[in-house]
């Protein structure tokens, strides 16, 4: 078991220094500042932008991603629900399920369109805000981005056929186009997550004299972080959307308890939540084990673990005091973090002291975001579990199913935003937790930013635009729910 922790310590420098043999720089895995000592971070020679512009660029990127992800997950998971509804109609002849599939398809069209245009903005923002990053990363992340482009393209084609093909396609073909939308949405997410995983664990190149050479695009795409991160991101979409949909239809069912349409909707969404939520908890565990080995600084920040230690405690809650280098007000379970990450209560877990303080991410933000994500995850597991029990109860003992129990509908209503909160918090953990790097070990975020001045202007502009669009979308979706009510 000691072996695993030793691997953990050595894995980090290996992952960070693909081309160390060619650059001729010596590895010192045991020195406390090994990350800083490994590479010559790429520096931009001319800089027109001050700190404020960097902050504005980071804020604009964060805001754009936070906005886009909400629509992107809808584009992934709503098609699945809509296909399940249509299939239910085809198998049982239930007219409410058909009506539901059509309503969901229209809602999906709105969300997909806003996701498509905000995704276009993001693809340009990579260059508009981070030209120096893209100059070096472009060839390395181009592969998954190209594949994502193809997947998105197919998704748009299938969605066009699905939305406008109710009359023109046979029922089986129509259903197949819906499956195509769902599958391509999932593929898009997987490919695009590969890019982010590469930023966390860059590979597929040699680093010689500050240049990325001997580019190996496929190796870059299938980097070590890819699997666990793509799994976690994909599942997050299904969990979050399932809970939002349950919440919306719970609200409608409380007003109109006998509506067949809302019952079907709630039942399908609960089914999705029952499958995806426990899977997501398992995937989160996989992720934490991976991060502990390959991105130990991020894990240390997430856990608020300042000192490298054996028998590391799992800290629940609490606020990190970076000055004093301690976590205050947390509930600590001794050895639990070591056990969770290395399956051994005595394993050594790297703390923030394993790297120089200037390479720490903002510990407070990362720790709090991580706690929020985990708390939301377990809350959703509990809500889904209760729903599952009530459902079993209904099947075996003829008690009312969960969608006929007012207390459960209230619970589902309250739990509706938890998945979205968990997603935003989770992205905060992985993105803020990567700072100060944009490509871990190779390039600092500050060196990637554009020389363009006055970046606060596009930041404020896009924020206002997105807030406006967000409000409009909420109003429109409310119209859709109210319209389904009117039709019973």
């Amino acid at each position: 078991m000691v072996v695993t922790s030793a691997v953990a310590r050595q894995d980090l420098p290996r992952a960070r220094c693909d081309g160390e043999h060619s650059s001729g720089r010596k590895l010192t895995p045991d020195s406390s500042d090994h990350v800083a000592g490994l590479t010559i971070p790429i520096q931009v020679e001319y800089k027109g932008s001050g700190m404020d512009d960097l902050l504005a660029a980071r804020s604009q990127m964060a805001m754009s991603l936070a906005f886009h992800i909400l629509f992107a997950i809808a584009g992934m998971a709503m098609p699945l629900l809509m296909v399940l509804a249509e299939r239910r109609h085809q198998r049982t002849g239930d007219p409410a399920a058909l009506e539901l599939a059509k309503r969901w398809a229209k809602g999906t069209a709105i969300l997909f369109a806003v996701g498509a245009v905000s995704g276009t903005v993001l693809s340009f923002e990579l260059g508009l805000l981070w030209p120096e990053f893209m100059r070096h990363a472009g060839p390395l992340v181009g592969m998954p981005f190209s594949l994502e482009g193809f997947a998105f393209f197919l998704e748009a084609i299938f969605l066009g056929l699905y939305l406008y093909g109710w009359q023109r396609l046979s029922p089986r073909v129509h259903l197949a186009t819906g499956i195509g939308v769902a599958a391509c949405g999932l593929l898009s997410a997987i490919f695009v997550t590969s890019v982010n995983a590469w930023m966390n664990e860059p590979t597929g190149f040699d680093f010689v004299d500050g240049e990325f050479t001997r580019i190996r695009p496929w190796q870059a795409m299938f980097n070590d972080a890819f699997f666990s991160q793509a799994l976690h991101v994909s599942l997050s979409a299904y969990v979050a959307v399932a809970f939002v949909v349950m919440g919306i239809h719970a609200w409608a069912l409380r007003r109109n308890p006998t509506s067949a349409l809302h019952r079907t909707a709630f039942r399908l969404a609960l089914g999705l939540a029952l499958v995806s939520t426990p899977a997501q908890i398992v995937s989160g565990d996989l992720s934490s084990k991976h991060i502990a080995r390959h991105q130990p600084v991020k894990l240390a920040a997430a856990e608020g673990l300042f000192e490298t230690q054996t028998r590391a405690p799992l800290s629940i809650g609490g606020l990190p005091d970076v000055e004093a280098r301690e976590l205050r007000y947390a509930i600590e379970i001794p050895g639990a973090l070591s056990f969770m990450t290395f399956s051994d209560v005595d394993a050594e877990v790297a703390g923030l002291d394993s790297v120089a303080p200037e390479l720490w991410p903002p510990v407070g933000v990362v720790h709090v975001a991580f706690q929020i994500m985990v708390a939301c995850g377990f809350a959703m597991l509990a809500v889904a579990g209760l729903g599952g029990l009530a459902w079993i109860d209904a099947r075996w003992r003829g008690r009312p199913p969960p969608w006929e129990r007012r207390w459960y509908l209230m619970l589902a209503l309250l739990a509706a935003p938890l998945g979205l909160i968990a997603i935003e918090a989770g992205w905060t953990v992985t993105e803020v937790g990567r700072q100060p790097w944009v490509i871990v070990g190779y390039m600092k975020t500050a060196d990637a930013v554009t020389p363009m001045p006055q970046l606060v202007v596009p930041f404020v502009g896009f924020t206002l635009l997105y807030v406006f669009l967000g409000v409009v979308v909420l109003v429109l979706l409310k119209n859709h729910v109210l319209a389904t009510e009117g039709k019973r």
Binding site: Y46, G127, V141, F145, R168, V472, N479
Partner: protein, 337 residues
Amino acid sequence: MTAMHVFALLGVAVGLYVLTAGADFGGGVWDLLAGGPRRERQRELIADAIAPIWEVNHIWMIFVVVMLFSVFPDGFAVVTTALHIPIVLALVGIVLRGSAFVFRAYGLQPNQTRARWGQVFAWASAATPVFLGTIVGGVSSGAIELRWDQRGIVHPSSGFLTGWTTPFALAVGGFALALFALLAAVYLAREAELGGESALADDFRRRALLTELVAFVLALVVLWRARIDAPQLYANLLQAPWSIPAQLLTAALAGAAIVGLLRNRLMLARILVMGQVACVVLGWGLAMDGHLLLPDLHVDQAGAEPAVLAALPWVLLGGSLLFAPALVWLFRVFKQA
């Protein structure tokens, strides 16, 4: 694949973007300018024509961006830095156009509110091509200066307002708008004809004829301003060995399209206008002569990695095998009577 192959591929993608998404923008222009006794019918035809395909058409822009940063990362970094402002403006237009379109189509809102979304859609559709045109004008102008630092990395050095704020770039913006509107008008005329609405078809036929004249005038303005603001592009456009035949072919197609429109041969006119616009894009691409930015940034110096160039054909082949049939299917289902 070589860098020049990718340059040609980018040209093809730009051409496809213009012929498909360009027409969607043009549809917004005709929504804005809808008038006469069939005003609402015109708007309905535009919405029906665009609705199933506009998101798919948009992919060509994504394709260009991804190709640029994967294959020509230095070119991407330089262009997005120097032309930050018009790109942001075009993006705002793209966001507003797409969002307003679906809000109008699926919003389940009262007619008055839907009409307001229609206005946003129409104005954003009309403004975005102008910004896209100024971006094209910027990269063609020859005014954006570059500097190589001591590590051999290229940076723009002429500020953030260079190239795209000239009368030439604005003229290109106007010309792009005219071409997009022209495409939309001939497509819509044919769709109306297929739908058996000859009066409606005639509305768009007359608009197409008028737009041909506007486009002709703007093409002359672009040439005149290019001579002043973008001398190298001008030289390439008029003095290269291929240029006179290419210009004559464009003019011949335009002339034939006008005759086709006058004689009410709408199917033929649509094909001729598509050929005309494709020739304009082709002429521009040839005049760029393998440069991402005139005069200094040739694709050979834009940072292409051999491994990426080697992997690209396989990715493109794999992707095409999937999406070509899907795309053909989509257009067969929705674009044939």
